[in-house]
Symmetry: C2
DNA sequence: TTTGAATACCTTGTATCACAAAGTACCAAA
DNA sequence: TTTGGTACTTTGTGATACAAGGTATTCAAA
């Protein structure tokens, strides 16, 4: 029953292109999903420690350097498992919800 | 970001007919959703304390008396809010997932 | 030159929640 | 009267999301 929707969203965003924390927060916000820094930073570190992400530093002209996260092959594997798990969850809820 | 999928499932099940904890677990299991007693009992108590559920005792021929939970009017209201929130979550994920 | 605003990263403390495990209690059949 | 099945409850632990605060860099304005 452990959900991990947020992890799913992060991997999903990073599967399209690399990004740094603040930009991920913006993208989530644009999708109506509120996440704060205190949630996201530890989560990125966790996913990196699990081998799902790597990162590189990049200078910015607008302030301090940015930590760009990149999804790994293992991250893509896990993402596709999460796709399946999410689809199953959606259809489970649908079953429960329309059961008569 | 706190979702409460499990709360949603419980209200959904109880919106069809009253039930006691063990039968709810069986129904969830039938829908491929594993939930254990130590999760469900506190959750039912929480929802009761929030006024979403009430309960009554009923004797059983098969063992100890059962605590049948019943959804309240407020519970039905919250359930319909959860319906909307769930639909929004599903479409948010879809947006993130298919964004290009 | 220093100050402040903007950007970005990180940490700490707290509350909640799902689970494992153990405990309590009732009943019927062997 | 003991055993097995059913049912409810509690306790302890780990994970996680959040609020709040802290550190550090850059640039522009005072």
């Amino acid at each position: 029953m452990r959900k991990g929707v947020l992890e799913y969203c992060i991997l999903s965003i990073l599967s399209r292109k690399e990004a740094y924390a603040s930009s991920i927060i913006d993208e989530l916000k644009a999708a109506n999903m509120i996440v704060v820094e205190g949630t996201l930073y530890p989560l990125l570190i966790r996913q990196k420690n699990q081998g799902l992400l790597s990162y590189r530093w990049e200078e910015s002209t607008q302030g301090p350097p940015r930590k760009y996260y990149v999804i790994t092959d293992k991250g893509r594997e896990v993402l596709s498992e999460m796709d399946a798990a999410w689809q199953e969850m959606v259809s489970t809820i649908q079953t429960l919800r329309n059961h008569d």
